[in-house]
């Protein structure tokens, strides 16, 4: 822990008008690009980095943190208002957010997402600021075997979302896993299913697959449903009851357990590099549904579903900074970009960072707190703005959204090849939807597949052919036992 004078100096560096302006700008930009289907905060950060070259390190990184945090809030908007999540983690928000918006209560849904996101984010920031060192040690102890146990647990928890037909759920998951095997295998680097196209040599780009299956296929489906009648993108019901367009304190408070669960899941998974916010969002969502006395209301506009997903995926980001600041290990692409920004400004993240750059780190913490408050303020105004935008006729909204998806995927996945992959998966999404297979299960399996495979191959190398060596990994064994219990209880509930 640095001296108090360094902490105070860092915080006073943070709370300046210049910083406030750039963090505000970042949050505004982040919420905007997060809300635009296709581009997303990660790409926005990559594009914004060169513009920060001329800025001071703290101002630059504060700005990028603003973009990232704003993006977390903004990402829920297309998921809720149009059922077109731009990232797989926001897909969990769409499960209840979109039905609520369709019932004419989009502002209620987006506000719940905003409050949950800021709650999750703030909590994980507090963990980062106060106990990052012990959390980093804990994260270090989670090796490949423990991560494998955790991923198996994630699969078992998420299996609760498999839907009515287990067969169809398993087929969707198997297809997702199959798509995840494209690219080099993690153990021997042997290319698989790349058919001579080096664009997919490292695997199918997640952005192209996710946007194709989740956003483009949904837009195409709704365009196909169009009967020629000019419809608005979303109808806001004017019931005259203000409660339909806001979240009251009792409503927020009723979600407290869900928010705490989501935040804890997000913080733990965020502190472990590489597992990511998608697993966190869906584990939290499935957990909330499992714990609910009325699981049948989930998927039909239950605010608990939004709270679960948004608190978890936002909590991942703050916790991602734990391995970044303490060990120099990025937990996600967003965190890798923050490391890039540090490097460009001549700072090497790593174990000696608190010692060498204590003032900057506490300045960054100050900027993060500022970003959270600004997120709440900008979000209040922004949500109304986006609802107005989406209230435009579908004939304007859908083509614009498709165009933006094309631009975003082209930027993130390296041009035309990304767009082709996006379109192929859009068609696959449409077919799967039409036949009653869950696209969301496909995406989760696609996202977790490579992580499962990598940790499995590392585990096998560590065990070196001796299964009894597993007994040396009690945490991993406990996680697998927990996974079995979860699976059993989920199936028992299903049987009822």
């Amino acid at each position: 822990m640095p001296e108090l004078s360094i902490i105070l100096a860092g915080l006073s560096d943070a709370f300046t008008i210049t910083n406030l302006f750039f963090v505000f700008l970042g949050v505004l930009l982040g919420q905007f690009v997060g809300a635009v289907p296709g581009i997303g905060p990660v790409m926005a950060m990559a594009i914004a980095i060169p513009f920060t070259f001329g800025l001071d390190a703290l101002v630059a990184i504060g700005f990028l943190m603003g973009v990232n945090k704003g993006g977390l809030v903004g990402g829920a908007i297309p998921a809720i208002l149009m059922n077109t999540p731009g990232t797989p983690d926001a897909a969990a928000t769409a499960l209840d957010g979109y039905p609520l918006a369709k019932q004419g209560r989009p502002l209620k849904a987006t506000k719940m997402a905003l409050y949950s996101s800021v709650t999750g984010d703030t909590f994980s920031d507090i963990v980062l600021i106060t106990v990052s060192a012990p959390m980093a040690i804990l994260a270090l102890k989670m090796g490949p075997v423990e991560v494998l146990g955790l991923i198996i647990l994630a699969f078992c928890v998420i299996s609760g979302l498999i839907g009515n037909s287990i067969t169809k759920g398993i087929i969707a998951a198997a297809l997702g896993m199959l798509a995840a095997t494209v690219g080099t295998d993690p153990q021997h680097a042997t290319p698989r299913f790349y058919f001579g196209y080096f664009e997919i040599y490292d695997g199918l780009p997640l952005a192209a697959v996710a946007i194709g299956m989740l956003a483009i296929s949904e837009i195409l489906r709704r365009m196909a449903e169009n009967t020629g009648v000019m419809r608005k993108g979303i109808e806001v019901c004017d019931t005259g009851n203000p409660a339909d367009q806001r979240i009251s304190w009792p409503e927020y408070w009723s979600c407290r357990f869900t928010l705490v669960r989501g935040t804890i899941i997000g913080t733990i998974l965020g502190a472990l590099p590489g597992i990511g916010s998608t697993a966190a969002a869906f584990m939290s969502y499935a957990g909330a549904r499992q714990a609910s006395k009325h699981p049948e209301t989930f998927g039909k506009g239950n605010i608990q579903g939004i709270a679960a997903s948004e608190s978890a995926n936002s909590a991942v980001m703050g916790a991602n900074l734990i391995p970044l600041l303490t060990l120099g290990i990025p937990g996600s692409v967003g965190a890798a970009l923050i490391i890039s920004a540090f490097m460009i400004h001549g700072i090497q993240p790593g174990p000696l960072m608190f010692e060498k750059q204590g003032q900057l780190i506490y300045g960054l913490f100050g900027a993060m707190v500022m970003a959270n408050v600004l997120n709440l303020i900008v979000g209040q105004v922004g949500m109304r703005f986006w609802i107005k935008v989406v209230s435009a006729p579908e004939s304007v909204i859908f083509p614009s959204a498709i165009l933006l998806c094309f631009v975003g995927v082209s930027l993130a996945s390296g041009g035309i090849s990304g767009i082709v992959i996006m379109l192929i998966f859009a068609v696959l999404g449409l077919v799967m939807n039409a036949l009653g297979f869950s696209v969301v299960i496909f995406i989760i399996a696609f996202f977790l597949g490579p992580r499962l495979e990598e940790s499995l191959s590392q585990t096998l190398a560590l065990l070196n052919g001796n299964p009894w060596a597993l007994l040396n990994y009690p945490i991993a064994l406990a996680l697998v036992v927990l996974a079995a219990v979860v699976l059993f209880s989920t199936q028992r509930k299903r049987g009822r």
Binding site: Q187, F198, Y201, P205, P323, L327, S417, L462
Partner: protein, 319 residues
């Protein structure tokens, strides 16, 4: 001996390159791009290559006034990007930034599938060479390669964390020659390797710069340099070659354009690139991203580096 000759050839080439750049600015002033100059980065956003590409693009823009854009073209460690550059008509505007190892591995192992060869490009220069170190946890019961091999034999195996196939092949050759066997923990990044080492899941691993602070803190120690030469920060630590194993890995970050690019454009862009690489901003970013200094070999030596590298990769893959 051959290694030494190659090394001197590279240095001589580098000097020739530097001499050429002395005369180049005149041409650079004459030539101007007809549109935005695009630096295509062969990897995704975030990471060392991305940092280098973006800061170089920005610096060239500031110094020349040209419109320079950095774009990510991920896929196969630069293979997708270089394939596209080699197979489209030269536009005098597209520069690729990639790493030599993935390109050389595919040229050696999949010559029929790769739609280019080394002659498909005009080489502009290099940003730096990565220093690949074999490191062990500070509390490992050995301090050098010999000790590590003895320990492996005594334990009946040793898990080594790596993030690239050539590293695995290098150690497989060491194992074969020493009459032992290693297991490999394949990861996606150097940072992940450090995590495995610090977390106690692996005792030995490869690192490309991320280990320097831990050497300082004593949490890690360096066993050998996996490059052809020793590392500047650890002149007393031998290379694998010094230890009697004739294997090495030498990753380089390099810039290339289509071979059909107008020679005047090649010279002007190579000169602009060299000028950008000589700035403090770029030097500092490269130092932070890779923990090495900028080394721009210049056009011809960059090509020679790839030609020599191919021979080494053939040895690694037993071709």
């Amino acid at each position: 001996m051959i290694q030494k000759r190659k090394f001197f050839k590279t240095i001589a080439g580098a000097l020739a390159g530097i001499a050429m750049f002395g005369a180049a600015p005149v041409l650079a002033e004459d030539w101007k791009p007809s549109g935005p100059l695009v630096i295509e980065i062969g990897f995704g956003a975030g990471g060392s290559t991305d940092v280098i590409g973006r800061i170089v693009a920005n610096t060239i823009k500031e110094q020349t006034g040209w419109n320079v854009i950095a774009e990510n073209k991920p896929g196969g460690g630069g293979m997708a990007m270089f394939t596209a550059i080699a197979n489209k008509p030269a536009d005098n505007l597209t520069v690729g930034l990639g790493v030599n190892m993935p390109v050389m591995i595919n040229l050696v192992n999949r010559p029929d599938e790769v739609k280019f060869n080394l002659d498909s490009f005009a080489y502009l220069g290099t940003a730096a060479g990565a220093q690949v170190a074999l490191v062990a946890r500070g509390d490992a019961p050995f301090d050098d390669l010999e000790g590590m091999i003895a320990y492996t034999k005594a334990q009946g195996g040793l898990a080594i964390a790596s993030d690239a196939k050539p590293q695995v092949l290098t150690m497989q050759q060491v194992a074969a020659q020493a009459g032992t066997e290693f297991q490999f923990l394949s990861t996606k990044s150097s940072a992940e390797i450090i995590k495995l080492l610090l977390g106690g899941q692996a005792l030995v691993g490869f690192a490309t710069g991320t280990h320097l602070e831990y050497l300082e803190s004593g949490e890690l120690k360096m066993i050998a340099s996996a490059n052809r030469t020793r590392h500047g920060y650890a002149p007393d630590t031998p290379t694998l070659i010094d230890e009697g194993y004739d294997v090495y890995v030498d990753p380089w970050f390099y810039f290339a354009m289509s071979a059909d690019t107008d020679p005047e454009a090649q010279t002007a862009i190579a000169a602009a690139l060299a000028k950008a690489l000589a700035t403090d901003d770029v030097k500092s970013a490269v130092r932070n991203a890779l923990s090495v200094e900028v080394v721009n070999l210049g056009p011809e030596p960059t090509k020679q580096m790839l030609v020599d590298g191919i021979e080494n990769v053939k040895i690694l893959f037993g071709k």
